[in-house]
């Protein structure tokens, strides 16, 4: 059984699971700094939304691009990576009944990440790195900018090493009997992808750093784009994996859901690992120098098996919830179970809204925009951020928020205040992201560029611009962005208040969030495999997918001929 030393663990007063105290310290540290970087990114986000809203156009040109650089780095890299290291440490210790492999390794990894993130942020704010997150050469930042990113990447790799080493000692010490739990399996998939991703990061960032130091010649821009996206988009697959693991975790915690078939869920995670590079090619679909065959093959490997993986999880997660609800007696009609899930539990609502937004908006738009020819209508337009704010924000960030509603009471052992506000927070945030994503997507469909300070092109010798309908969509972007900002601010305030000033619940179980009660007189039975409601949900998804996909082909017919 457990391999803990004396006084190095506590038993969770709510779940009875063991908590390694070293792991707990680093889960807390990584969690706190994740939230700090989330806060920096959030302040940046409202400034950007208010600049892209034509009626407001808040920031100056220089500060728009600078804040855009800040937003991308802090949200997409720092917030995600710190949160993910915390998730990995949780999965390999508590869920495997093991101690963390090494306190020292955890410290080294954490310090490297923190120092790297601070260096990068400082140099961006000093105006030494107005190159946006992608830093495409020949754009050149101060060498410290690249050094900071390298430190974050290597620090994360050190943390991932600690995770794998913990898996090894848990197996060696036989702290668990049989296969690892599904959530841990998902975390392993995320960690494997993270290694591949971060190695791409090293391959592209080290020569770029050397160039910035004037040691070597400038990296080839086409080569840089190819390898950088091995970092840039693959890291999103780490986020997807971590998010899906989160869905399974929260589904279990909030409704007692149990996967219908572990083999199916695990195979889907393996598909992520094997087909992870697909999306990297999505950024090169209208690039020179890579041919049609390369583009078609690398964007799909002929069968889109990473998409299949997400479609499988999109079924198995709601199906497990439906089965659990039906077993508790909520058997009425197709959706009687869905009406009675604990919508007032922010852990549940975050998870389910994340599932819906990721599937219906993020997934459908992502695959469509990542189609070789359709990408002509989308490359570098606002449709792209319209897509990824639905995957990585409406999907991953929202799922991680749901996780915090459990991490704070269970790991920090602090209670949330204002629990009614907690209950509505995920809905506000989700609504804002959906509205903003729609504003971006529709404005982008008219050709509005992403990462662009002034779509009136004021001062340009040759006039260009967009019609009033497009300006309305940019206004929608601003409205959605503001709502999302309020939702995010609520999350940050509630979390910070709980972590630093919340009532301690040490020694007793956490105050439960809204839970599902079995219907009176019904003895909870074994979940059956019949999940007709989920089947209808996924069929609606498939039809929406097909409509959106073919509507885009239809739109493509209307543009100039090109080959």
């Amino acid at each position: 059984m457990g391999n803990f030393q004396v006084n190095a663990m506590r038993k969770c007063d709510t779940t009875g699971l063991p908590v390694c105290l070293t792991a707990q310290r680093y889960i807390k540290l990584n969690g706190v700094f994740a939230v700090i970087f989330l806060l920096i990114g959030t302040i940046a986000s409202i400034l950007l939304a208010m600049t892209r809203t034509p009626a407001i156009h808040l920031l100056s040109q220089t500060w728009y691009y600078r804040i855009l650089t800040v937003h991308g780095l802090n949200m997409l890299i720092f917030w995600m990576l710190f949160a993910e290291v915390a998730i990995l440490y949780f999965c390999c210790t508590t869920l495997l009944n093991s101690r963390l492999y090494s306190k020292g390794v955890a410290l080294v990894g954490f310090v490297m990440m923190l120092v790297g993130a601070i260096i990068t942020d400082v140099f961006v704010f000093m105006g030494k790195a107005d190159v946006l997150m992608t830093s495409y050469p020949p754009l050149k930042a101060h060498a410290a900018f690249y050094l900071g990113i390298i430190l974050v990447a290597v620090g994360t790799l050190v943390g991932v090493f600690n995770f794998f080493a913990t898996l090894y000692i848990a197996k060696r010490d036989k702290t668990y009997d049989g296969s690892v739990p599904l959530v841990v399996f998902g975390a392993i998939a995320a960690a494997i992808i993270a290694v591949v991703t971060l190695l791409h990061g090293a391959v592209v960032m080290i020569p770029t750093f050397a160039w910035a130091m004037d040691w070597t010649a400038q990296p080839d821009p086409a080569w840089y784009r190819l390898v950088w996206w091995g970092l840039g988009h693959q890291s999103q697959q780490v986020n997807v994996c971590a998010m899906v693991a989160c869905w399974y975790f929260l589904a279990t915690m909030t409704t007692g859901a149990k996967p219908l078939n572990q083999a199916v869920c695990r195979t889907a995670f393996v598909l992520y690992i094997l087909f992870i590079n697909l999306a990297s090619a999505h950024h090169l679909l209208v690039d020179p120098g890579v041919g049609a065959a390369w583009k078609i093959w690398n964007t799909s490997y002929a069968m889109y098996l990473a998409v299949l993986a997400s479609m499988i999880h999109g079924f198995t997660v709601p199906a497990s919830i439906e089965a659990a609800m039906r077993a508790k007696g909520y058997v009425k009609g197709l959706f009687g179970w869905l009406a009675n899930v604990p919508w007032k539990n922010p852990g549940f609502s975050s998870m389910f809204l994340s599932l819906l937004i990721f599937g219906f908006i993020g997934g459908i738009t992502g695959v469509t925009l990542g189609t070789q020819q359709i990408n002509i209508l989308a490359h570098n337009t606002l449709r792209i951020p319209g897509h990824f704010h639905a995957t990585v924000v409406g999907g991953t960030t929202l799922a991680f928020m749901g996780l915090f509603y459990y991490v704070v009471p269970l790991i920090f052992q602090r209670e949330f205040y204002a629990r009614k506000l907690c209950a509505i927070q995920p809905f506000i945030f989700a609504a804002g992201i959906v509205i903003m994503s729609m504003g971006m997507s529709f404005a982008g469909s008219a050709g509005v560029p992403r990462r662009h300070w002034d779509v009136e092109f004021s001062g340009a010798p040759l006039a260009a611009g967009f019609d009033s309908g497009t300006h309305i969509w940019l206004g929608v972007l601003g409205v959605g962005g503001s709502i999302a900002f309020i939702g995010m601010l609520m999350f940050l305030l509630l979390t910070v208040a709980a972590v630093f000033f919340g009532k301690s619940n040490a020694g007793k179980a956490m105050t439960p969030w809204a839970a599902v009660q079995p219907i009176e007189g019904v003895t909870p039975g074994e979940p059956s495999e019949k999940t007709p409601g989920t089947m209808v949900l996924v069929l609606i998804l498939l039809v929406s997918f097909a409509v959106y996909y073919f509507a885009n082909w239809k739109a493509l017919v209307d543009v100039w001929y090109v080959r």
Binding site: V286, P288, G291, Q373, H452, F457
Partner: protein, 174 residues
Amino acid sequence: MSIYVPEKNWFRAPSGGERVWIGLSLVWCLILFLMMPYWHFKGKQNSTGEAYRTTPQAFQARVDKQVASLKVGEEMGIPIVEPSPGADVYLLGRMWQWYPILKLRKDQTYRIHISSVDLQHGFSLLPVNMNFHILPGLDHVLTMTPTRAGDYSIICNEFCGIGHHFMTGKIIVE
């Protein structure tokens, strides 16, 4: 439960609804793939990525030669060039301008060579909304056929420094 070690012998083939959904999804994924080769051969809009190595100096020289021989007018001090149908046409992206203005004929096909002499740029044709990536050192050849007459603007949609939003250009289709 997803957070506990599964029962022994958890490995079994998918059944019931899961099996149906996996089958449907796989078929859909294959359709997603097949549309791309189908369109490559049958569709009129493709990004083939045809490109040749070049240098900023060589490309600039090629553009200047074109302007000298085919200039038919000027707008805002920027030359307008009118190549003959079927010809090779050169369009240069630089901070912050698409140079020169092109005058093309509807339903005629041109080989439009585009490159950058400084940073990366994004060729974005409005209001049709067609977008291609432009890299310094690579001559990106788009074999294009304008299908409607009118004035079109080109903007840049890849960040190219402070001044990015000044970067516009124009194509006139008659």
